[in-house]
């Protein structure tokens, strides 16, 4: 069952276009949205949230159309944005008084528990919080109204490694305890190695793949070999190639064919998500 269904989504800006994006996000799983800067991750998330108006296409969340049912849909979503747009002159407690009444299932006890866990003081002014602390506060709000779907735009940006790991543990716990769905964008791909069940890769406003993490690593391979093996036919096998004086590294999405073709003459490795992102974004540029 899908918690989010996107069909033919498009958005045109002067320097960026998202064209015909269609994807499904599975209910009850953590889905990571990856892509280089400017790939369209935030644009997609803002369209899902109804903050950006699509040029074309259709979005359904919980089976309901967005934006026609925007208020009912957002009642069930916890949203964390990279930019924490809270009123700077208010305290955390005052900000809570602003936000809490909007949610039917606001859980005051849970909010206070998260504040305590993240070492945030209710009397602290928003303007006195660091970027990381604001992100923690944003998480407190998103996790305190029993949201069924968490949508997070770069939630780990600006966080120290200790809290980043803690956040990922919290997300994993949420999935164990309560069976929610989580969609989060990041360009720190190692975060997804720990927790993501599915990966959506966006590049230049298009979906490169939307697959389970296991399937991605089954499909892709990183080939390292000497340069003389790289003829015109072989180049066609690769999504992206990095050439140096002593050899080349190439990413292929046809692992089995690469293994058959190179045999023992090349090293065929499992790529990281970062490798996949790098080679797809850079294509076949030469690096001497």
């Amino acid at each position: 069952m899908n918690v989010i269904e996107v069909r033919g989504l498009a958005k045109q800006y002067s320097r960026f276009a998202m064209k015909d994006v269609s994807l499904d996000i599975k209910q009850g799983f953590i889905t990571g949205l990856i892509g280089p800067n400017g790939a369209g991750k935030s644009t997609l998330i803002r369209m899902l949230m109804g903050m950006t108006v699509p040029g074309a296409g259709e979005i359904r969340i919980f089976g309901q159309p967005m934006p026609r049912s925007e208020d009912a849909i957002r009642q069930r979503i916890g949203f964390v944005s990279e930019e924490c747009n809270y009123y700077e002159h208010l305290t955390i407690a005052a900000m809570k008084r602003v936000i809490a009444p909007f949610y039917r299932h606001w859980d005051e006890k849970r909010f206070n528990e998260y504040l305590h866990r993240f070492e945030l003081h209710p009397k602290a002014k928003i303007r006195s919080l660091s970027k990381g602390m604001k992100m923690k506060l944003s998480l407190c709000f998103a996790l305190s109204h029993r949201a069924e779907l968490l949508i997070m735009d770069e939630p780990t940006a600006g966080l120290d490694p200790v809290f980043r790991r803690e956040l990922l543990d919290i997300l994993a716990d949420l999935m164990l305890d309560e069976g929610r769905s989580i969609l989060f964008s990041t360009h720190i791909t190692t975060d997804l190695d720990r927790v993501a069940d599915y990966i959506v890769f966006l590049h230049q406003g298009k979906v490169v793949f939307n697959e389970s993490r296991e399937r991605v690593f089954e499909k892709y391979a990183l080939v390292k070999a000497s340069p003389e093996l790289l003829d015109r036919d072989v180049r066609g096998l690769f999504v992206g190639i990095r050439e140096t004086a002593v050899g080349f590294e190439g990413l292929t999405e046809r692992r089995d064919e690469a293994v058959r073709l190179f045999g023992n003459e090349a090293v065929v490795e499992r790529p990281t998500l970062e490798d996949i992102m790098f080679f797809t974004a850079k294509g076949g540029r030469r690096h001497d």
């Binding site: 950006t52 934006p67 957002r74 979503i77 930019e83 747009n85 602003v98 909007f102």
Partner: protein
């Protein structure tokens, strides 16, 4: 929608004091011939400008857009708050008048005509401001607000001169009650049109664009 109105007024918090301070300074301590009409109009504009600036500074339109509300409700809440700003502005103006008259024993004007002009100018100002606010985005609207505030102040000063010559004894404008009552009703109708226009614009806009 009630939560959005509540949010708007709660966020203003101590900024209300600036409106009170303005009324005290320009309505009581440095009272001039233009004070009465200025008091009936500018506090509401000030409060609305503060609310817009706070939203601009924190880019909180994105926060509001992530809450479980409809876009129409966001616009409606803005327009509903205007009535609060106008009512508070008129109340503060009336309070300054009472202080002048009964505490400082000064001769001052505060009549139905002043309320009528206060309502009319405020409704006209807001009718213009919000469609620009949603059309140009918050930054563009900041420029517009200063232009419109300047024009409003010039108009108010002009009104003050005209009013002194056209009051009847009962506090209405010369020409009878109709001339006192019709302008606010007309500008209220314009405000309604402005609301419909703002909703139509805001539905098609990206937040914080």
């Amino acid at each position: 929608m009630i939560n959005l109105v509540r949010k708007e007024l709660f966020v203003l918090s101590y900024y209300h004091l600036f409106a009170v301070l303005y009324v005290l300074v320009f309505g009581v301590f440095f009272e001039t011939a233009y004070s009465t009409v200025l008091l009936a109009t500018l506090p509401a504009m000030m409060l609305m400008t503060f609310a817009s600036n706070l939203e601009l500074r924190s880019k909180s339109e994105l926060l509001i857009g992530s809450l479980p509300v409809r876009r129409e409700q966001i616009v409606l809440a803005k327009y509903v708050c205007l009535f609060y700003y106008v009512a508070l502005g008129l109340a503060l103006g009336a309070a300054a008048n009472l202080i002048n008259r009964y505490v400082l024993a000064r001769e001052t004007d505060w009549s139905l005509a002043h309320v009528s002009i206060g309502l009319t100018i405020n409704f006209l100002f807001f009718s213009l401001y919000y469609p620009f606010y949603y059309w140009f985005g918050q930054k563009g609207a900041q420029f517009v607000v200063y232009v419109v505030l300047f024009l409003a102040t010039v108009t108010i000063v002009g009104f003050s001169d005209v009013m002194r010559d056209h009051f009847d004894g009962g506090g209405a404008i010369d020409g009878g009650t109709a001339l006192t009552v019709l302008p606010p009703i007309g500008s209220l109708a314009l405000l309604l049109v402005s609301y419909r226009l703002s909703v139509a614009i805001f539905r098609k806009k990206d937040l914080n664009a």
